[in-house]
Structure formats: structure tokens, C-alpha cells
């Protein structure tokens, strides 16, 4: 993932110190930063400036964070990354359901945030293009056409459902997918609460894919939220 072109990023946070730190760091990456301190301001700016990406703190003085998220989602197509606290698993899931692309847990390092921003921008950019035929990372090759999966040139036999799961994950590589999103895609809307299917299923998939299933390097668990496929070059 090379350097991306200069983008416009809207930072929504009521804490001036955090806005300042983000403005400096993102500016260092040559992005244009616009700032909003309230939800209302953010919605106005988003429809006016049409930013490429929005960093949204879920605790805002005027609006409920999720409410603000829904309004932003209505008025622009920007990728949205929400900032939450660690114990707010339910918040994260709800934000992702309402259309957030990803989340970052406070406190966070700038490296983690930049990775999420880049992945979110990449997926936005790729949304219009035709799907790729192959996915490669760290010796793992997933041939999306022939349904063939190899690691270090060894064939990995997968059941059709396992392959579909893997395909879903690699197509959103770097992005978190909630349990419900995966269950809906693989088992259908009637089964979105059957997390035990998913646990067992992912376990089996890891045994086949991961060199060390107890310490997975590809399929990462996001506690209580979902899973994330981690490309090898991610820090």
C-alpha cells in the first residue's frame, strides 16, 4: 500500500487537544484537515466540504455519537472511523452497523490510526472497481476464481463455507467485520446470533490456514466485535 494522494479529512472531537494532535499528525502525512467540535457542525461541514474521510469521536457535546454517525452517513459518502473507549464493545458494533468503516480505541497510537485510515481509504477507492481475482499475503494465496488456497505452495483444502468465509475476510482485508456481518453473509440473516457456529468455523479455518493457530497472524479476533483479516505488511 503505497502513499495515497492527498485527501481531505474531517476531525470531529470536542477536545481541542485531540484535534490539535490530529491536525499536526495528519498534516504531516499531507492530508488536509478540517475540524468540527460538535455533531451539528460536523454534519454541516461534511455536506459542504465532501471530505474523503471522517474521524468521529462518539462522545459529542450536542448529539449522541451514533445519531451523528447516521446523519453523516446520509449526507456524504466519506469513509468514517469512530473513536471509542475500550469497554465500549456495544458502541463499536452499533457504529459499524450504522455504516462506520472501522474504529480505533482510545488511547491510540498515531501508527494504528494511520493504518486504519489508509485501509478505509483504499476500500473506498476500490469500491467502484472490478473485484480482483487473487489475494496474496505472506505466502498465502487465495485464488478467488478457482477457489484454490495455498500457503507456501501447499494446497489447503477448504469446505465451500470455509472458502466463502475466507473470501469475505480477504475482500475486506484490514477492516473489521462484525460477527453479525459474517453470519449474515455466510449463513443468512436468520442466523446472525449463532456466534457459536462462527467460533467453531473460524477455529477450523485457522487450523488450516494459520502456521500457529493459537497465535493467529491472519485472522485476528476483535474481542466481542468480530474478526479482521490482517495483511502481512500491516504494522
Amino acid at each position: 500500500m503505497g502513499k495515497l494522494a492527498k485527501k481531505t479529512i474531517l476531525v470531529v472531537d470536542d477536545e481541542p487537544q485531540i484535534r490539535k494532535f490530529l491536525r499536526i499528525s495528519l498534516g504531516a502525512h499531507h492530508h488536509t484537515v478540517i475540524e468540527a467540535a460538535t455533531g451539528g457542525e460536523a454534519v454541516a461541514l461534511a455536506s459542504q466540504e465532501a471530505p474523503d474521510l471522517i474521524i468521529l469521536d462518539l462522545s459529542l457535546p450536542d448529539l449522541d455519537g451514533h445519531e451523528a454517525l447516521s446523519r453523516l452517513r446520509e449526507c456524504c459518502r466519506a469513509a468514517i472511523i469512530v473513536l471509542t473507549v475500550r469497554t465500549g464493545e456495544a458502541d463499536k458494533i452499533e457504529a459499524l452497523d450504522r455504516g462506520a468503516d472501522d474504529y480505533v480505541t482510545k488511547p491510540f497510537g498515531i501508527g494504528e490510526l494511520m493504518t486504519r485510515i489508509e485501509i478505509a481509504l483504499q476500500h473506498r477507492a476500490a469500491a467502484g472497481r472490478a473485484p480482483s481475482h487473487e489475494f496474496r499475503t505472506a505466502g498465502l494465496v487465495v485464488d478467488l476464481d478457482s477457489h484454490r488456497v495455498t500457503r507456501d505452495n501447499h494446497d489447503i483444502p477448504l469446505t465451500p463455507r470455509e472458502f466463502e468465509t475466507l473470501r469475505l475476510l480477504v475482500c475486506h482485508a484490514g477492516k473489521v467485520l462484525t460477527h453479525q456481518q459474517i453470519l449474515r453473509e455466510i449463513w443468512g440473516p436468520a442466523h446472525i446470533n449463532e456466534t457459536q457456529y462462527l467460533r467453531v468455523h473460524i477455529g477450523k479455518l485457522r487450523k488450516k490456514l494459520e502456521p500457529e493457530p493459537a497465535r493467529p497472524r491472519f485472522i485476528i479476533t476483535e474481542p466481542a466485535v468480530g474478526y479482521r483479516f490482517k495483511p502481512a505488511d500491516e504494522a
Binding site: T87, A190, E194, Q196, K204, A214
Partner: protein, 943 residues
């Protein structure tokens, strides 16, 4: 003070009366209880004293009735000759009033104040003559017997059965300036009577002899004494008024009322009340409980306690004395209390029993000579309430049937043996056989059965064995003697046996009481918590009094019922008020007591030396039932024990509260010290690094800058962890941390924890030993991950850098045990449990303590919230520390048969709501992929 209060100013009437008195002659009356007590004698003797003082005395009229010692006192006294009056042809001698008035002595003696003058005299009554003398300024000495007082006329008639015609109005006596009571104990008077020292007119001799009975004399004596006492008080009052001395002037009088088992008790109590009011004297009502008391019917016991309660209500002090010698007890108590008057009831015992034993009244009169004894009679029959008599009768017939049966058997057996002895062996002294039967029956069955046997025996003996046989005729005095012997034996043994029985019953009763108390104390000693004690108390008390019982304690809103047997939640207003009163005053209140006696319940305060702890309420079964003194005493003892027991549990719970408070205090202190240390340390490091960078940016080389910046990042992370721990702990402590259970693989959890800790743990050699095929666990993924992170973090902190850390997971029964082993110095055995306490840190020598003392406490909180366990032990070779958590295995979740079925472009059966126990129908059967079955057997769907 110039002005005196109106009340204290001498009243005009009082002054006038005194002035009148000063001009009038003074009247002194020698008051006697009966003829012959020595009034005239006393009057003459006093007159002689006065004469020697030089007072001008004449004898107006003195009746010596020829008694020589009386006549001797007349010597030297001038006598005014009596005038002779003729009436209907007879000559009478009367006092010569005019002669006395002419003579004008200072003092005149006028015997027999109640005398009626012969018609033709100036006044029909002698007391009118006296009044005239007094008006003339002449002092008068006179004599009077109490029965002649007008107001007592009817009382005397009732007591003595004699209508006294010669009466004196009370006003005459009231005007007397001085009354001297001439007192003689009845016995002495009787003696004087028998010695002929008392003059009795011939025509009245028969009547008067009836009059001179001890009872009459006692009553009359009491009346005289009482009258005199009242006069004394009146005089005192009048003196006080005249001299404006504020009252009440203390009289050292005290009244004791002795009640017995008969119904006159109530009357006695009321009389005592009146007497105490009249004399403003304190009074006490006593009952002497002998061993005989135990054998009394309940109705009688109730009556006694009711009388005692009545006395309390009327303001008396009450006392129940115990002892066998009633008189001795009464007199001892009377002396102790400085009693001046004793009021007793007239005995209703049949006259013949007095032959054997004197009545209480008589004994009191003879032995209590220093006391005034007032005897009250009752018009009522001896045992008044009919129901009581009936009950007593029932008891009498119901109980001793066995004894009578035994009596008949004994008589029959004696008869049989006598026949044998007579016909076979030819005994001559057959009467002894019957005597044996009488004695045995007496010992066994008491008085009446033995009398029955003696009668039967005598008749049988006379009829069958006494010559001439088969006849009941008695020929000689020997047989009368034999019969008397039978009777005597029966009476003596029966009486003795009854006494033994009574004492035995008393002992039994006392033993029962002791047993009850012992049982009670054992019961409540075994009760550890307040509720148990309270229940034991009410249950025991209720069964002891055969009624209801409850305990009230002081709560925020007032007195509240805390226990009841049978359970009770509401008190009527009166009872509630009584309970409050009992609590506030520490005294018994409610039913039958001195306060709110109309309440349904009786309340006894539960008090210890430290103060009141509650109130014990009791209610008897029947509407009219009251507690007997016995029950009252038992209840008092029970209440005392209950109070102590309640206080004991209160102390225990106080202590427990103190302990909890101390523990809370310790935690608060630890929290404060932890926050000040653990929050500040990272801040110090961050502030120091940042200020160094700001000040010396240019002088630092790149490496130094990087090092300082890394410090800032590490310390910030540490601060974040600490805040997180504090938050978790707070939520655990407040119960806000509810695990959100979901299915998870333990391996996934371990992986997540390692991922989060990769910065620290990646420098360590790590052994992962996870048993294949572990079941899914039902737990909160985030929280258990936090547990693993805390444990692993601790393992890194407390072991040398670069040493090995081992994580193992295996199933053991219904749990999955996850163990984290480090290679550090380990935890001393005695501290292994404490490491899970909040803010506890193992003291290590020469090593930096980095933890907050919260990590493992949080682990325990979370794991226990999942129904799991956590423990610390030493490593496999006695080195290092092993922290093991045990997580419960819930029944495996249902897995769909089509878990590995083709992807969902095919229709799925609708499964909402989803029955979890039922596998989904397979859309398309498909063999499981290779390796699946071996890898996770526990997860395979059951078919």
C-alpha cells in the same frame, strides 16, 4: 417576705374555733373498746395526778361498781352528791348538774358519757349535761366505750350482734379536746371478765357474755384505735391550719394489707386504699405464698393475682412473701416496712378448726402486739364466685377418685386379711390390721380417704369381728376409744401425708420452673443470630404461658414487632401505646398492670444493665385470664434471659459491623495510597521526560530523544492500564460488571491476550500447551481476555526478563483449567491466597514492585462472576508461580449439521426464533472435511 400566700394564712374559721375553745371548758374522753378495759380507773388515776398538781377537781359521777382498786383512787377527791329523782315510783340517782355548776370546779369527772338520764332530769342525755358544763367553762373528764358512738352503731350491731341504744353523737367526740384510748388486748380483757373484774348489769349478763368474744373485742378495739388515730390527724390538721404550717405534715404511718385466698381480698384492698387516702399514708399489700399455694385451684391463684394487680392499680406497693409461717412473714415484713397498721380479713374457717390451729387474725392479734390490726369481715360467702366454687368442687371430685378407690381397696384388703387372721390363724388383735389400712391410706391418699377407711374399718371390725358379731351395737367405752384411735390415726397420717404431698408438689413446681428456665437458656444460647434468638424467645414464652407472645424492638418508625408466636404483625392502638410505655419507662404495662390495664397484651421491658433492648408482649388465651404471680415471676426470669441473649447477638452484629467498617476503612486507605502512588509515578516519568525534551531538545542526540519518548509512551500505557483496572474494580465492586456471555474458544481468548501483550511477551520464550478438542465455553470474551492479560502481565512482571512463560489449557471434569506458569521467585505459601486481595502486593526484596495490587483481584472478581475459580500455587519444580483459573463448562451449544454446507446462495429454512437444542436440518449432506473430526471431537454435532 411581707406577704404570705393565702393558702398559708390562718383561716378565720380555725381561729374562731380556737377562741371558742379557749373560753369553753376542755373535754377529755377516755375511750375504750369495751366495758372493763379500765377507763374509769384510768380517768381516776389521771385525776389524782391533776389533784396533786393542785387542780380543783370534783367527781360529778363515778361508777366504781364496787371495785376496790377503783374506789381507792376516789380517795381525796371531792364528790358532788347525786340528786335523787323519782320516776314511776322508783328512785334513781343522777348527777347533780346544778350543784356542780354552783360549785364551779376547774375540773369535773363525769363517768359514762353515753348514759341516758332518767326522765325528769334537765337533759335526756348525760353528754348534754357535759356540754353545759363545758359551756360554763368547766373542764370535764369523761369515759366512753366505742360501741356507743352513733356512727358506729350499725357497724357494732353487725360485728357483735347487739343493738346499742345508748349512743353519743359523733360531734360530742369531735369536740373533745383530748381522747385517750384505753387499750387492753382481748385476751387480757377476757381474763378480767372471767375473773369477775368487769361489771355487768345482771339483766344484760347473758347478752353481754355473747358480746365478749375475741372476734368482737378485736374488732371493737380496732375501731377505737382507728377512731383515735383519725382524731389525732384531725387535731393535727386543725393545729396546722391555726398555725399556718404548710402540709402535709408527715405521719410515720404505713398500712399493710394482708390478703389471703378468699374473696375478701378485694374488699381488703379497697379498705386499705381508703385508709391510706384518709391518712395520706403509704400502703403495701402482701400475700404470703406457702407450699400450700401450689395446690390451690387456678381460679384462686388468678383471684390472688387479680387482687394484687388491683392493689397496684390503686397505688399500693405489692409484695409476695414466701414462707411457711404466715404470721411470722407478715410481722417481719411489717417491721421492715415500719408498718403501723395491719389490715386483715376475718377468717372464714369453720369454728372447729380453730381448736387445732389459730386463725391468722387471732395469731396476728396475739403476736403482733405492736401493730394495730384492723379486721375486715365479709358479708360474702367464703369463696364468692360461683364458678370458682364449682371449679373447686369439680377438682375435688375429679382428682381424688383414685384415692377413694384405693381407700376402698385398702379397706377390702384389710377385711380379707382380718378374715384370714380370724378364721385360719386365730389372731386376737385384728384391730391392728385395720389400723394398718388406715395408716397406708392416709399416707397414700391423704386425709379424707383415710377417714373413709377408718370409718369403714371401724364398722367392719365392729360388725364382723367384735363380739357379739354381726351387729353394730356398741357395748362399752373401749370401742368408742378404738373408733377414736382410728380417727386420730386417720387424721394424723392423712394430714401429714397431705403436707408431704404439698411440699412434693411445690418441689415439683419449682423443679419445673428451673427446668423451664434451663431449657430456655439452653435454647437461646444455641441461637447465633438475632432472628433465632427472637424466635426461641417467643416460642418458649408462648408455650410457657399457653398463650401468645411477641417481641418488639425500637426501629426508626417506633416500636415494631420483630417476632411473634403465633406470628402477629399488627397491634391495636391501646396495646401499641402500652408497648411504647413499657419501652420508655422500663416497666411492665398493658393487660392487668398499673398502666393501660385494658390492653389485650401485657408488655414486659427487656432490659439489661446497658439499657433496654426490646419489649416482650404476652397475651393469655381467654379474655379474662390474667397471669398468676408464679407465671409473672417466671416471665420476669425469662424476660431477663431473653434480654441478655438479644443483647449478646446485638453485640455480635455490632462487632461484625465494626469489622466490616474497619475492612472498608482499610480498603479506602489502600486505594488512596495506591492512587497517589500508581497515578503519580507514570505522571512523574512523563512530565520529567517531556520537560527534558522541551528544554534540552537540541543538546540531546537522536537516541536520547527516542529513549525519552519511548518512556513517555510506556508510562502513558501504564497509566491507561491502571485507570482501566480502577474502572473494572469499581464496576466489579458495585456489581455493575455483568458478564455478557457468549460462546468462545479458550484458544481464541489466549490468542487475543497474547496479541494485546505482544510488546512485552514477544521477548519471552513462550510455551503454549492447549489440549485439542476443548469445548466452547460460555463466557464474556472481553472480560476473560482481560483476566488472561492481567495474569500474563503479572507473570512478565514478576519473573526475570527473558525467562520462560508457559500457558496450558486442559479440561478437568466440568471445568477447563487454564494455567500460566512463570519462572520467577514464586509466592510464599502463606501469601498465596492473599495475592487475590485488593491492593495486596507480595513483598519482594531488592525488586521493583510494578503492579497496582489490583490485577489479580480483578481476575478473581471476573472469574468468580463466571462461576469459576482462581488459585495460586508454586511451579512444577517448586520454582516460579502458577496461576490457574478454572472456567465452568456449560452444556455444549448446538451446532448445525450444515456447518460446512455450501454457502448461502441456497434458501435456508426459516429458523426464527431458533430452538437451540435442535440441530438444523441439513440442506445438503456433505462429508466433513479431512481433519475436522480429529481436531474438535467435542464440537462435532451429535446425530
Amino acid at each position: 417576705m411581707a406577704e404570705r400566700d393565702d393558702k398559708d394564712r390562718p383561716s378565720p374559721e380555725a381561729l374562731l374555733e380556737q377562741v371558742n375553745r379557749e373560753h369553753r371548758g376542755r373535754l377529755k374522753i377516755f375511750l375504750g373498746a369495751a366495758p372493763g378495759v379500765g377507763k374509769t380507773y384510768a380517768m381516776l388515776r389521771t385525776a389524782q395526778f391533776r389533784r396533786r398538781e393542785g387542780v380543783d377537781i370534783v367527781a360529778g359521777v363515778v361508777e366504781t361498781h364496787g371495785r376496790r382498786e377503783t374506789e381507792a383512787f376516789l380517795r381525796g377527791l371531792e364528790s358532788i352528791p347525786r340528786q335523787k329523782i323519782e320516776y314511776r315510783g322508783l328512785h334513781f340517782e343522777e348527777m347533780d348538774l346544778d350543784a356542780i355548776l354552783r360549785r364551779r370546779p376547774k375540773l369535773v369527772l363525769v363517768d359514762e358519757l353515753a348514759h341516758t338520764n332518767v326522765p325528769g332530769s334537765r337533759h335526756p342525755k348525760r353528754h348534754q349535761d357535759v356540754t353545759e358544763l363545758l359551756d360554763a367553762g368547766i373542764d370535764v373528764y369523761s369515759t366512753l366505750n366505742i360501741q356507743h358512738l352513733e356512727s358506729l352503731n350499725d357497724v357494732i350491731a353487725r360485728i357483735a350482734g347487739i343493738q346499742v341504744r345508748e349512743t353519743v353523737p359523733d360531734s360530742v367526740l369531735q369536740k373533745a379536746d383530748e381522747i385517750e384510748v384505753i387499750d387492753l388486748p382481748p385476751q387480757e380483757l377476757m381474763q378480767r371478765l372471767s375473773e369477775g373484774k368487769v361489771y355487768i348489769p345482771d339483766q344484760a349478763r347473758r347478752a353481754m357474755q355473747n358480746f365478749f368474744s375475741p372476734g368482737n373485742l378485736t374488732a371493737l378495739r380496732e375501731l377505737a384505735l382507728r377512731y383515735a388515730a383519725e382524731r389525732v390527724d384531725e387535731q393535727m390538721l386543725s393545729y396546722m391550719r391555726a398555725h399556718a404550717i404548710p402540709g402535709p405534715w408527715p405521719t410515720r404511718e404505713r398500712i399493710m394489707v394482708c390478703i389471703g385466698t378468699d374473696a375478701v381480698a378485694f374488699r381488703l384492698v379497697r379498705t386499705g386504699k381508703r385508709a391510706s387516702e384518709r391518712r395520706q399514708a403509704p400502703w403495701v399489700v402482701v400475700y404470703v405464698e406457702t407450699s400450700h399455694h401450689q395446690t390451690l385451684p387456678d381460679e384462686v391463684k388468678d383471684q390472688i393475682s387479680a387482687a394484687l394487680r388491683l392493689a397496684e392499680q390503686l397505688g399500693a406497693e405489692t409484695a409476695v412473701l414466701s414462707g411457711e409461717d404466715v404470721i411470722h412473714e407478715i410481722l417481719t415484713a411489717a417491721r421492715q416496712r415500719n408498718v403501723s397498721q395491719i389490715i386483715v380479713g376475718k377468717s372464714h374457717r369453720p369454728a372447729w378448726t380453730r381448736l387445732f390451729r389459730s386463725t391468722v387474725t387471732d395469731a396476728l392479734l396475739s403476736r403482733g402486739q405492736t401493730f394495730d390490726v384492723l379486721v375486715i369481715t365479709s358479708d360474702e360467702t367464703p369463696t364468692t364466685p360461683k364458678s370458682m366454687a364449682a371449679a373447686a368442687a369439680r377438682r375435688a371430685t375429679a382428682v381424688p377418685w383414685k384415692d377413694y378407690l384405693f381407700a376402698l381397696e385398702a379397706a377390702g384388703a384389710a377385711l380379707g386379711v382380718a378374715f384370714l387372721g380370724d378364721t385360719v390363724f386365730g389372731f386376737s388383735n385384728l384391730v391392728l390390721i385395720f389400723m394398718a389400712a388406715v395408716l397406708i391410706t392416709g399416707i397414700r391418699g391423704g386425709l379424707i380417704p383415710s377417714l373413709v377407711v377408718s370409718l369403714i374399718s371401724f364398722l367392719a371390725y365392729t360388725y364382723f369381728f367384735k363380739e357379739p358379731r354381726y351387729t353394730l351395737l356398741i357395748y362399752n367405752s373401749q370401742e368408742i376409744f378404738e373408733f377414736a384411735a382410728f380417727l386420730a390415726a386417720a387424721v394424723v397420717t392423712g394430714h401429714y401425708a397431705a403436707g408431704v404431698r404439698r411440699r412434693e408438689q411445690a418441689t415439683k413446681q419449682s423443679a419445673r420452673r428451673t427446668a423451664t428456665l434451663y431449657d430456655f437458656s439452653r435454647k437461646i444460647a444455641g441461637a447465633g443470630v438475632l432472628d433465632d434468638v427472637l424466635w426461641a424467645v417467643v416460642h418458649h414464652v408462648a408455650s410457657t404461658i399457653q398463650g401468645r407472645a411477641l417481641v418488639l424492638m425500637r426501629k426508626e418508625a417506633g416500636m415494631e414487632i420483630v417476632a411473634g408466636y403465633p406470628p402477629e404483625d399488627q397491634l391495636d392502638t391501646v396495646s401499641a401505646a402500652a408497648a411504647n410505655w413499657a419501652w420508655n419507662h422500663g416497666k411492665t404495662a398493658g393487660r392487668g398492670s398499673g398502666t393501660l390495664p385494658g390492653a389485650e397484651w401485657l408488655f414486659l421491658p427487656l432490659r439489661t444493665a446497658r439499657g433496654p433492648v426490646g419489649v416482650l408482649g404476652v397475651a393469655m388465651q381467654g379474655p379474662d385470664k390474667l397471669l398468676s404471680p408464679e407465671q409473672t415471676r417466671l416471665l420476669d426470669a425469662l424476660a431477663g434471659q431473653a434480654a441478655v441473649a438479644i443483647e449478646r447477638t446485638n453485640l455480635v452484629s455490632d462487632y461484625e459491623q465494626q469489622r466490616v467498617l474497619a475492612e472498608t476503612e482499610r480498603l479506602r486507605a489502600a486505594l488512596l495510597s495506591s492512587i497517589s502512588h500508581d497515578l503519580r509515578t507514570p505522571l512523574v516519568a512523563i512530565t520529567g521526560s517531556v520537560t527534558s525534551l522541551l528544554s534540552y531538545w537540541k543538546t540531546f542526540d537522536d537516541n536520547t530523544r527516542r529513549e525519552l519518548l519511548q518512556t513517555i509512551v510506556d508510562e502513558a500505557e501504564r497509566l491507561n492500564r491502571f485507570v482501566q483496572n480502577l474502572l473494572d474494580m469499581t464496576r466489579l465492586g458495585s456489581g455493575a460488571l455483568q458478564p455478557r456471555l457468549d460462546w468462545a474458544e479458550i484458544q481464541d481468548i489466549i490468542g487475543s491476550a497474547l496479541e494485546r501483550l505482544k510488546k512485552h511477551i514477544s521477548k519471552r520464550p513462550l510455551d503454549l500447551d492447549i489440549e485439542p478438542g476443548l469445548p466452547l465455553l460460555h463466557l464474556d470474551f472481553v472480560l476473560i481476555t482481560q483476566v488472561m492479560i492481567n495474569i500474563l502481565d503479572n507473570a512478565c512482571k514478576y519473573s526475570p526478563a527473558g525467562s520462560r512463560i508457559t500457558i496450558s489449557a486442559r479440561s478437568a471434569g466440568r471445568r477447563v483449567m487454564v494455567a500460566v506458569t512463570d519462572d520467577g521467585p514464586g509466592i510464599p505459601e502463606n501469601e498465596r491466597e492473599r495475592v487475590f486481595d485488593m491492593f495486596y502486593r507480595v513483598k519482594t526484596t531488592g525488586q521493583q514492585t510494578m503492579g497496582t495490587g489490583l490485577g489479580l483481584a480483578i481476575c478473581r472478581g471476573i472469574v468468580e462472576a463466571h462461576g469459576g475459580t482462581v488459585s495460586a500455587s508454586s511451579g512444577p519444580l517448586g520454582r516460579g508461580t502458577v496461576i490457574t483459573i478454572g472456567l465452568p463448562i456449560t452444556d455444549a451449544p448446538p451446532l448445525p449439521a450444515h456447518l460446512d454446507d455450501p454457502p448461502p446462495d441456497e434458501p435456508h429454512p426459516p429458523a426464527e426464533p431458533h430452538p437451540p437444542a435442535e440441530p438444523h436440518p441439513p440442506a445438503e449432506p456433505q462429508p466433513p472435511a479431512a481433519g475436522d473430526g480429529a481436531a474438535a471431537p467435542a464440537l462435532e454435532p451429535t446425530r
